[in-house]
């Protein structure tokens, strides 16, 4: 089949790692890798891989719109909102990896079909991609779950400057997504950034208040979800299967990155990219 033509806006860690993943995809090809400075590490990497690069930011999209089917926006929330105002009239499909929240949210394991009815898909947050599928397993198999809490542990160096600078946006975006996907009234997100060297792997703990747990249904759902997650995030695994203590359920998952451009401990950056690729491949296969 003819590969869909992809442009990547943003040449930081996320954008460059996406590029490496796209080069492996049977459904996608990267026609433009776009930043602001031709001497950035990401641009140099892209050049070494033989990919077209540009330092003209959004103007590169306007100029080459006939040679682009979909756009990954891996810049910042502010820039992504501006980019969308230009891209929307062009009719191009956008996968937004920033917390700009202009599009429909998607977790491929839970609502990949949303891709059919949207022009802009938002990838929520890395912790959301990793933990909400498990939170959903709890909420969908247990009765009347009033509250779910997620703790993300990540290496300081793997968190990315955007997360560190904007913890509020990260936390509120993830809390909102937990509530809407799980249809529960209350949620809390805690972020633990660990300065330890060598760096710790990304892990997520999912807690829920459940008075009388149904473990048979929960375990079945959780292990099925682990397999589904592994179909697009190879490094995803359950570290501690559901355990119960005094009215609380707890599950722990780990995400080991593929180590494409970013080190494998930074599973948080890897998982959001794996999820974005799953969305792009769905788009590529349907239209």
């Amino acid at each position: 089949m003819v590969k869909k033509k992809v442009a990547i806006l943003g040449t930081g860690k996320i954008g460059t790692d996406l590029l490496v993943k796209i080069l492996r995809s049977p459904f996608l090809e990267c026609t433009y890798f776009i930043g602001r400075h031709l001497d950035s590490d990401g641009i140099l990497k892209a050049k070494s891989l033989g990919v077209n690069v540009s330092d003209e930011s959004i103007h590169a999209i306007i100029k080459n719109k006939d040679n682009i089917d979909l756009i990954f926006d891996a810049t910042s929330a502010v820039d992504a909102r501006y980019h969308w105002s230009i891209i929307e009239p062009l009719g191009k499909f956008v996968i937004d990896l920033t917390p700009a929240k202009v599009g429909k949210v998607c977790i491929p394991a839970l609502n990949l079909d949303v891709v059919n009815n949207a022009q802009n898909i938002n990838m929520i947050t890395c912790g959301g991609q990793a933990s909400i599928p498990m939170a959903y397993c709890i909420a969908s198999t247990q009765k009347n779950v009033p509250y779910i809490e997620i703790v993300t542990n990540a290496a300081n160096k793997g968190a990315g400057p955007a997360t560190i600078k904007n913890l509020d946006e990260y936390i509120f975006t993830t809390e909102g997504a937990i509530k809407s996907f799980c249809k529960i009234p209350a949620s809390k997100v805690i972020v633990n950034l660990n300065p330890k060297v060598p760096e710790v792997n990304m892990q997520n703990t999912i807690y829920a208040l459940v008075a009388r747990p149904d473990f048979v249904a929960l375990n079945e759902a959780v292990f099925r979800m682990e397999k589904l997650m592994q179909s697009y995030v190879p490094g995803y695994s359950i570290l501690v299967p559901p355990v119960w203590e005094n009215g609380k359920i707890m599950i722990e998952v780990q995400v080991l990155g593929l180590g494409d451009y970013i080190p494998s401990y930074a599973g948080n950056l890897d998982i959001i990219n794996c999820a974005a690729i799953a969305v792009a491949e769905k788009f590529a296969q349907q239209k």
Partner: protein
């Protein structure tokens, strides 16, 4: 000499003793007693700061807003401080709340070598005209140069002072001296020190900090707090008064306040140094893990001392209480981390 300031954090560290179930009556009666002693700063809140209420580190009995309101209403003489740990706390929900409720001093935490995480919080509070201090936890895990480097960054952000916490009670007096001296020599803001008593060194370490230039020290009534407890406030003040360093605190009133605390917090909760506390400090484990380790070790039928050692080997940091179950799970199932 009255430049040495004494902080009472019974209503924050002691909240750990009560599993974060601090009630209105306790807050009101203890504040009334301690605020009459001449103590300089009273620290109130969830042990992990505003927004700490969680399954991870304990759900509060009272909402943060209510705790802050009660404390604000009753603290009349001392300065009122509260803790903010970015990651548990957010700017919009929690830091803004502390500002609205007119806390005098906002203490913004950061793990060592991670000053950047607190930067936005610090600048936000400073913009709103608040007095901001920084606090660095788990200081036994980093080398002294990193500590100074981070202290300089925090100073550049504009904080009024920097607290150093021996979160695992793992430091010896000479190590405290070295860290505090380096900070007082390289920074030009006041340095504070908070000890844990797992090695029985809370008073000795606090004196070492003062000798090295620390000008703010901390204690709690009876030493209430995580692990083997904090520095016992009434002992600290008695010792400091013998050294002619703390004449502004009325010792009789202080004893009345600390006696009241024992009644309010229940005398059977008075800290003692258990073998688990000692091992915890030997392995550099965060003191706040003491209760969940014992609880979970019993639930999973495993030796708590083995768990403490493994947590120490993995350099787990404060706030990562979820790692305790994971490590127990790995130990029970012979899984290598």
């Amino acid at each position: 000499m009255n430049s040495l300031k004494i902080v009472d954090s019974t209503l924050r560290d002691g909240n750990y003793t009560l599993n974060q179930k601090l009630k209105k009556d306790t807050i009101v009666s203890y504040i009334n007693a301690i605020d009459a002693t001449g103590i300089d700063i009273i620290d109130v809140g969830h042990t992990n700061g505003l927004g700490g209420s969680s399954i991870q580190v304990g759900r509060s009995a009272l909402p943060d807003a209510e705790v802050l309101e009660i404390a604000r209403e009753h603290i009349k003489n001392a300065a009122f401080s509260t803790l903010i740990l970015p990651g548990f706390a957010t700017i919009k929900r929690d830091l803004q709340l502390a500002i609205e409720k007119q806390v005098d001093i906002i203490i913004i935490g950061s793990r060592c070598t991670m000053a950047e995480v607190g930067e936005r919080f610090i600048k936000y509070a400073l913009d709103k005209g608040k007095q901001v201090w920084s606090v660095m936890f788990m200081t036994h895990l980093v080398n002294d140069n990193e500590l100074v480097e981070d202290g300089l960054k925090l100073q550049a952000f504009g904080v009024s002072g920097l607290n150093v916490v021996d979160s695992a009670g793992a430091l010896l007096p000479n190590e405290v001296k070295q860290k505090i001296s380096l900070l007082t020599q390289n920074l030009n803001i006041p340095i504070g020190f908070l000890a844990h008593n797992n090695f029985g060194l809370a008073i000795a370490n606090t004196l070492a900090a003062i000798e090295s230039g620390a000008s703010v020290v901390n204690g709690t009534a009876r030493g209430f707090g995580a692990g083997a407890g904090k520095t016992q406030l009434e002992v600290l003040v008695a010792v400091l008064q013998k050294m002619h360093l703390c004449s502004h605190v009325n010792f009789d009133k202080l004893l009345a306040a600390t006696d009241l605390a024992e009644t309010l917090f229940n005398s059977k909760n008075c800290p003692k140094i258990t073998p688990e506390n000692i091992i915890s400090s030997q392995y550099g484990v965060f003191s706040g893990f003491s209760k969940p380790i014992l609880r979970l070790a019993e639930l999973y039928q495993i030796n708590p001392r083995q768990v403490i050692k493994e947590i120490g080997n993995q350099d787990v940091i404060d706030g990562q209480e979820d790692k305790i179950v994971q490590i127990i799970w790995q130990l029970k199932n012979n899984i290598k981390s």
